[in-house]
Symmetry: C2
Subunit: 322 residues, 2 copies
Amino acid sequence: MRNYVIGVDIGGTKIASGIISRRGKLVKKVVLPTLAQEGFAVSIEQVYSSIVELLKTSGIKKREIEGIGVCAPGPLDPRRGIVHNPPNLKGWREVPLEKLVSKHFKIKTRIENDANAAGMAEVIWGAAKGYKEVFYVTVSTGIGTAVIVDGKIYHGKNGMAGEGGHVTIDYNAQNAVCGCGRIGCIEALASGPGTVRRLRNRLESSSRPKTRIPDLVGGDLSKLNMETIDQAASNGDEVAIEAIKEEGRLLGIWLGGMINLLDPEIIVIGGGVSLIGRPLFDEIRKYACQSTINIMARCTPIVPAKLKKDVGIYGAASVFMS
Amino acid sequence: MRNYVIGVDIGGTKIASGIISRRGKLVKKVVLPTLAQEGFAVSIEQVYSSIVELLKTSGIKKREIEGIGVCAPGPLDPRRGIVHNPPNLKGWREVPLEKLVSKHFKIKTRIENDANAAGMAEVIWGAAKGYKEVFYVTVSTGIGTAVIVDGKIYHGKNGMAGEGGHVTIDYNAQNAVCGCGRIGCIEALASGPGTVRRLRNRLESSSRPKTRIPDLVGGDLSKLNMETIDQAASNGDEVAIEAIKEEGRLLGIWLGGMINLLDPEIIVIGGGVSLIGRPLFDEIRKYACQSTINIMARCTPIVPAKLKKDVGIYGAASVFMS
């Protein structure tokens, strides 16, 4: 293997890319706006520019690069190298991303779904290092997951496995319609926006909730977000603590089912919401154990992800590391 | 490989065992009562007797036997060869079944969970022949599943993966407490007893249901079972048809989530309830497609199992065939 891998993480608002050494050091990083709203032609140019910029500013030669790993929001097919139609990348339809990038730079390229990539990054460099059967979860605006089997991402038939955020735990919950259009997906219930929505409904329907949360957003509950809730909870606000506990309970119930199905060696939880830490993880662990028939599940570690802000770049690069 | 494999299927009421040729022919079969209520010492003797009987009546020599595959209700650990504490086999606790049988007969032995074994039998001889990524489901008194990855059973960390029947789709449904003690597991909702319970509640709470089902059980709704419902539905009874459709809808919603997570090549559904056939499968297929974000899922076949009454024996034998 050559000395470096380029990782490009295409998000809805920004493209974060970097050069990672064989040993896992991020030696150079570039962030550009995706400009997704300006259409496909513009945003693919932003991808190219990121890579050009990385090569130029790092002084690393093309021949030192093992490959370019690109991760993007799903649905995509990593085996055929095609991005189908991600809701967060308007105008991207059946884009042969692997071929486009590899032709443009004459460097081997592979693509991967963002949650899968982040999961592999945790296996190679992070909290799941040394484990082979891993269930990775990222909780932020949505809930993404990766199923890692024998140290490799499990892709399934069409490369679309690992969408565990769209497993319903409450198929009848008309008040929990998911972004995917279905009902009661854990993403609808326990993502950041799901938790915010539930708390907001509670505050709006209660005449005198015992909480200072409304003050924290200047009385405008549309400004409520997970950071506010986390901050209020840290200050001992009971309503905020309860909201975080409820989120943990829902994630735990769902993970209990995932343990029943997959019996992983370890569960790693990343994403912005996971930064809440202990108060959230304690509830997750408690309910996951209660919600599984797996008599060994008490020994299944449920741990926070290790890689934080650059996990996307590491994830993208991971496709050439495993 | 030698010419024959012995398969022993230990159930709560009977032990079905057989000798299967390398080509998949069941050349001899023996059925004995498990006598589970008489305790472990008695039922393990029944296991031994089954095998002795098979060898004696078939005239096949020990040296022609590749191995003895034994399947039993979970939880069990196929890698360590230990049966933990199956609710259906009273008095079986941490039984080193693999070692006991192999020592007794001086023939290599392996054990497997019954649903996993049935799933592998479908892969080797049945509806999933030629497929490598398979989700197998058996719907009868309970709901068991098997996750088959790259043509092999996925066991997870403790050998306890594949318990997809205990994934909740309705964690709040206080009227759907599962045998496992948790709430809203698909087993509680859509197994035979789950469907019977729902229909019975409906009949008991309705003053004049338009159905002849009560007549079919002599007015005693405690005698209601899936066969009665199937029979009534075949005769055009709308209430019975509705009960089957509801079961299909619930299974479909659950399978949509499983497709999101696992993106299998094929889903095979066996077990007694699957014999209902078309009216059930049509609903399952409809709702599975509606309940997944996988844009390729329309192409995922959902088919009935091929192996019927001897699936347990074939499943047990399959551990020496793959």
